[in-house]
Structures are given as structure tokens and as C-alpha cells.
């Protein structure tokens, strides 16, 4: 369903934009305002990050947002309620992004049952590789939610083929080695990496880590189906507030 949506939407636009919001940062009400502003700016897919105290795959900007949200008392229950509210208010697909322990402590079955009820269509959990994800994958499948896996430039071809067997919806490709939020020089290495990904999967590809200007988005048209914007939007939120984030996404189009 997510895949169909992406293909349909792609016909109308050259490339889709995926945004990222840390639920409860700076607080729940402003998170909601932020989602509203971003959706109004024409974003096509959104990740809602359930904060975790040890977010090992996130860089300083998102790490700090996770910790602030937790310090302000955000619970996982709040994130499910928030998800329901936004999925009922806005007509784009919403995904949960979080870490293994949040899913594990709630129980995979309960996590996905409640995610389904909240209108969530996909999950990104960077510290669950398929080898560790047997019950995660089973629960996702049982509730018709797409587990989205990450493909990295360091992933050898045989492993790319292995991962391709588990992904649903789309694949999240990282443009560079490392963590979220650092500058990327898009290069021929990127083309080579993307062509390795295309060899193993027919699913749409999203490209993350480092997208921050309209030129980046234009550059990605025809290369991938989705451009992911994460840390840059959060930086703008931190310095200039919610409205400025909306303007930023308008300018990316």
C-alpha cells in the first residue's frame, strides 16, 4: 500500500519528500503544529520518531531532541496517541521511527497492533537487522505494516540481496557513511551505490542523510523516488521556529 502510494504520487511529482519529526520535541503541541506546517508545505511521507534514551544511529541534533523530549516527560503511550491524532488530521502516510528497545519492551505484537490502530503504515528501526528481527517481522506482517530496512554503501552485494528479501514499502538508503546530520558530497560513488541497490530490489528507494537544499532535491530527481530531510529541518526548528520549517519545505519543492 505504501509502495502503491509512492508510485502514484511519483506520477504527480518528480520526487517525493519525506520529513522527520521527533514526537514531543519541543513539546507535544508544538510537534503537532510542526507536522501541520510540514504537511501544508507539501511533504509526502513523514517519520514520527518515538524518542529513545540511547539513539546510537542519530547525530547530535536529533540526539538532543530525543533527550529533551524524554526530559520533558514524553512516554511511549503519548507517541501512540500523537500518531492517532496526526493520522486522523492529515492525509499522508506516517511511519514510526524508533529503536529496538522501545518495540521490545512494549512487545512486538502489542507494538504493531497499537501502531495499526494509530494509523501507522510503516516502521524504521535502525538497530534491528533482519537476523535479530524474526518476531519483529512476523508482528509487522501480521498487522500489515511495512518494515523499512536501511541499505548502506558499506553493505556488500550479497548482503544487499539478503536485505532485499525483507523490505516492504521502500528502502531507506544512506548517502554516506556515518550518522544523521553531516554534510554530504553527492558523487559518482552515490550513483554506483544506488545502482547496486536497484540490482537487488524493485521497491522505491529513499535517500537520507545530508539533504538540506532545493539543489540537493533536484539533483536526486530521477535517481531515487524519495528525498529524506531530517536534521536540517530540526536545526531550523531550533533556531527559527515552526513556521520557518514550513517555509523551508516550501523552498525544497
Amino acid at each position: 500500500m505504501l509502495e502503491d502510494y509512492i508510485r502514484q504520487r511519483l506520477k504527480e511529482r518528480g520526487i517525493l519528500l519525506m520529513a522527520h519529526v521527533v514526537v514531543g520535541y519541543p513539546d507535544l503541541e508544538r510537534s503537532f503544529e510542526l507536522v501541520k506546517a510540514i504537511v501544508s508545505a507539501g511533504v509526502d511521507v513523514m517519520e514520527l520518531q518515538i524518542p529513545f534514551s540511547e539513539p546510537i544511529a542519530d547525530g547530535p541534533v536529533i540526539l538532543n531532541a530525543n533527550q529533551s523530549a524524554l526530559a520533558a516527560g514524553i512516554r511511549v503511550d503519548d507517541c501512540f496517541k500523537f500518531a492517532l491524532r496526526v493520522t486522523q488530521s492529515f492525509d499522508i502516510p506516517f511511519l514510526f521511527m524508533t529503536y529496538c528497545n522501545i518495540v521490545f519492551k512494549r512487545g512486538e505484537e502489542r507494538f504493531f497492533a497499537e501502531a495499526k490502530e494509530a494509523g501507522i503504515v510503516g516502521t524504521i528501526v535502525p538497530d534491528i537487522p533482519p537476523e535479530e528481527g524474526t518476531s519483529y517481522l512476523a508482528a509487522a506482517a501480521a498487522h500489515g505494516i511495512d518494515p523499512i530496512f536501511i541499505l548502506s554503501p558499506t553493505t556488500p552485494p550479497e548482503r544487499l540481496a539478503y536485505l532485499a528479501g525483507f523490505g516492504r514499502g521502500f528502502f531507506y538508503c544512506v548517502a554516506r557513511k556515518g550518522i544523521t546530520g553531516a554534510k554530504t558530497t553527492f558523487s559518482t560513488e552515490l550513483d554506483e551505490f544506488l545502482s547496486r541497490c536497484r540490482k537487488v530490489t524493485q521497491l522505491p528507494l529513499a535517500l537520507g542523510f545530508g539533504v538540506s537544499r532545493k539543489e540537493d532535491v533536484d539533483f536526486l530527481k530521477g535517481k531515487v523516488e524519495i528525498a529524506v530531510v531530517g536534521s536540517q529541518a530540526l536545526r531550523i526548528l531550533n533556531t527559527d521556529g515552526v513556521e520557518a520549517v514550513g517555509d523551508f519545505f516550501h523552498r525544497l519543492r
Binding site: V76, C100, E131, I150, S152, V174, K177, I179
Partner: protein
């Protein structure tokens, strides 16, 4: 069949895709050295010429007399180069790094001992070195920061989260995910994703194999009990591995323990193994770092592995507390969690107060200055010694020396002349 890297339900490799290939490369390198008959000899030779291996086994006559028996023996890991068992692991990993052809090492550190050991290894092998250390720990362990820098390492203060060991580990993982082509992450304990628990336990097993041989050679028998402090668990697993084959346990369900599946046990024969966690200000205060002995720990997944963590119902990690920075950590070795559930190792706690008392007694009676981490093992042994018979033999793993703790210990003891010295020194600097 048990998957590699799993110990019962614990362990695994819960890591971002970007690190998978790097950990596979490390696993392959480790498998190779395990198969290579010359490697362990090379390692032992390095440790006997660069450090003080085998470290002695000391009979502690005065402590024995003080408690009217049992007999106290102390395994002297404090006499390692850089002052703690940490060097065993670090030098082993240094040899692995050489074989992988990498040029830079990074590490996390809590008490600073692992950081100093890693900086030392980097200097000796000619690697570039960056150490991540929580800001809180840097304040507690300034002398170690000074030495790391003098040894040529860059020490990066970690200002996220609780600003202690767990946050330093997160930061080191982030560095590794960016620089894995040139860089090896020298994880300091038997935690983290596979193959780290197994690899670090492999190098630290040198403690237990020596201790077992020394007990049989010097004392003519095996110990009744072996005590070790447990943070991540590397010194404990190091010494316990020498005796795990000797403990015959008789597991019984403890009705007073409300965690399902947890077994208490009686040792019918052989060697009883006791891991001592940080009781901090007391389990009842909630300000401690006891994941296994207290009822506060629960199974979770963080920092790449599954084990018992101190966390809330949502799975968010809690702040931990201990006078000993090296024990102040949310998780514990997946290997120890498995032995805990099997009832093969008994876990206890020692509080900050008990630890300071034990430190004092050991200094006065034996002329040994133990690290606060190691004093947890001493404190528990002292507490239990009166119940033991005069024929029993206690073996304590003294994982490190306590010189580094001079500020903490002097504060805790309220030593006036020390305060005066520091004040005078500070005045001289600010003049």
C-alpha cells in the same frame, strides 16, 4: 542450535546496517586469531614483557587473622601495567588491529582505566587514538584524563545524556560508523554487539587461567569462593572463566524473588562464583547500578546487545549511581546474564559505604590500595567471611589499584590535610 554471539537469550548484534560489515570483518579477524596456534603465545609474551604477567597471587595473612579465617588470597591485577586488568583486553585487541591493518583506535572510558590502557596501547603500537569520556566522569577522574592526553590521545568530553559511560559508548559507536575504514573501536568490556563480549572475555580469561594454576600450585587446592566486582563484567568473567568448570550447582527457585525464571542456588561442591555489583547509596534508595542482584533490572536491547538493563517500563535507560565510575553502567555482560539465569554465578551488591570501609581495611591490613571498583569484591567477601569456616579459601580479584581514586577517597574520608593541600595548590595556580 544457539546462534553465534548468543548466550541463552542474551547477546546478539543489534546494530545499524552501516556497522554490519565492520563487525563481520572483526568477527573474521577474531576467528582467525583463535585458530592461530601462535597467537596466544604472542599475546602472552607481549603481556609478560610489557606488563607484569603473570600477576601474583598474594596470601593476605592479616585479613585472614582479622576475620579468624577463612584464608584470603588476592589476585593482583592491580600490578598490571597501567594499574588494572583493562590492559589485558586492550593489548589483545591491539594485536587484532595490527592484523586488520587499521591505523586508528577509539574507545569509551568510565573510570578512565580503559582509556589510559587504550592510549598506552596506541602509543606502543603507533596508532592514532581518540577517547570518549562522559563529562561527569572527566570531573571524577581528572588524573586519568591528564595521562591519556600525555600519552598522545585526544580525549573528547561527552555532554549528552547522563554524561557517563553509556553516553561515551554511544558516541564511540557514532565515530566508528563514520570512520570504520581506518578505525577500530576498542570496546572495554564484555558487552556490546557480537563479537565483543566473546572477544573481550577471551583476552581476560588470562586472569582465570593464571589464578587457577596459582591456586593449585601455591595453595594446593581450589578456592571455596571467588569474588569479583561487576560493572560491564570483564574482570569478573576474566577470573570466573578459570573456575566455571569447577562449580557444581544445585539450582533452587527462590520464593522471595518475584522475577520469574530466576534461580537461586546452593553450591554442593566446588567453587562458588560471586559477582558484586554497585549498591551505590543502597538498593532501597534506587540510587545504584545493580542490574542482576537487585529486582530493578529487566531484559532489554541497547548499545547493540540484549541483556539486563536498568530501565523504565518504556525501555528508557535510567541513571545509575556508584562511587566507582567503572561500575556506573546501565547494562551488564550478556554472558553474565546467562550465567545468572542458569544459577552458575551468584550476584550481590556492596554499597558505597561498605566499599569505603573495605578500602580502608585493605590498605591498613595488607598495604594494598584497591580501586573502588575492586573494593566491591572485597566488601562483599568481608561481609560474608564471618559465616565461612576457617578452612575455607576466598579468592578475590583485585582488578585495579586505587591511586586514581585519591580525590574520591580523600573526600569520602573527609581528610583535612588533603583538603588543605588542594586548597594551597589551587591558590598557587590562581595566583
Amino acid at each position: 542450535m544457539q546462534r553465534p554471539g548468543y548466550y541463552g537469550q542474551f547477546g546478539g548484534a543489534f546494530i545499524p546496517e552501516i556497522l554490519v560489515a565492520t563487525l563481520e570483518q572483526l568477527t573474521a579477524a577474531f576467528e582467525q586469531i583463535k585458530k592461530d596456534p601462535s597467537f596466544w603465545k604472542e599475546y602472552q609474551s607481549l603481556m609478560s614483557t610489557y606488563s607484569c604477567r603473570p600477576t601474583p597471587l598474594t596470601y593476605s595473612e592479616n585479613l585472614t587473622r582479622h576475620f579468624n579465617g577463612p584464608h584470603f588470597y588476592i589476585k593482583r591485577e592491580d600490578l598490571n601495567h597501567t594499574g588494572a586488568h583493562k590492559l589485558n583486553n586492550v593489548m589483545g585487541q591491539g594485536l587484532v588491529v595490527q592484523r586488520m591493518g587499521k591505523s586508528r583506535v577509539i574507545a569509551e572510558t568510565g573510570a578512565g582505566q580503559h582509556g589510559v590502557a587504550t592510549a598506552t596501547m596506541a602509543a606502543k603500537f603507533g596508532f592514532e587514538c581518540t577517547i570518549y569520556m562522559g563529562e561527569v566522569d572527566m570531573e571524577r577522574q581528572r588524573p586519568n584524563v591528564f595521562w591519556m592526553e600525555q600519552l598522545g590521545a585526544t580525549v573528547v568530553p561527552v555532554r549528552d545524556g547522563a554524561r557517563t559511560l553509556k553516553d561515551a559508548i554511544n558516541e564511540a559507536l557514532r565515530d566508528w560508523a563514520t570512520n570504520m575504514d581506518t578505525t577500530h573501536y576498542v570496546l572495554g568490556t564484555v558487552c556490546g554487539p557480537h563479537p565483543f563480549p566473546e572477544m573481550v572475555a577471551y583476552f581476560q580469561s588470562i586472569i582465570g587461567s593464571e589464578a587457577r594454576e596459582q591456586m593449585l600450585g601455591q595453595v594446593g587446592r581450589l578456592p571455596s569462593r571467588v569474588y569479583a566486582g561487576v560493572g560491564g563484567g570483564s574482570n569478573a568473567l576474566g577470573i570466573f572463566q578459570g573456575f566455571l568448570g569447577d562449580s557444581e550447582v544445585d539450582p533452587v527457585r527462590d520464593p522471595s524473588d518475584n522475577r520469574s525464571g530466576i534461580l537461586r542456588f546452593k553450591v554442593s561442591n566446588g567453587v562458588e562464583l560471586v559477582g558484586v555489583e554497585a549498591g551505590g547509596e543502597g538498593l532501597e534508595t534506587g540510587r545504584h547500578a545493580s542490574r542482576l542482584a537487585s529486582a530493578d533490572g529487566s531484559v532489554g536491547v541497547a548499545q547493540g546487545y540484549k541483556t539486563y538493563f536498568l530501565q523504565n517500563d518504556d525501555g528508557q535507560m535510567l541513571e545509575t549511581h556508584s562511587v566507582a565510575a567503572g561500575l556506573d553502567y546501565i547494562g551488564v555482560s550478556p554472558i553474565l546474564s546467562a550465567y545468572h539465569e542458569q544459577g552458575r554465578i551468584r550476584f550481590e551488591v556492596a554499597t558505597n559505604n561498605e566499599v569505603l570501609k573495605a578500602t580502608r581495611l585493605t590498605m591498613k591490613k595488607e598495604g594494598i590500595i584497591p580501586a573502588l571498583e575492586s573494593s566491591h569484591a572485597l566488601a562483599c567477601a568481608f561481609r560474608e567471611a564471618p559465616e565461612m569456616s576457617a578452612d575455607d579459601v576466598i579468592l578475590i580479584n583485585l582488578s585495579g589499584r586505587g591511586d586514581k581514586d585519591i580525590f574520591t577517597i580523600a573526600d569520602a574520608l573527609g581528610d583535612e590535610s588533603w583538603k588543605k593541600f588542594i586548597t594551597t595548590k589551587a591558590e598557587a595556580y590562581s595566583a
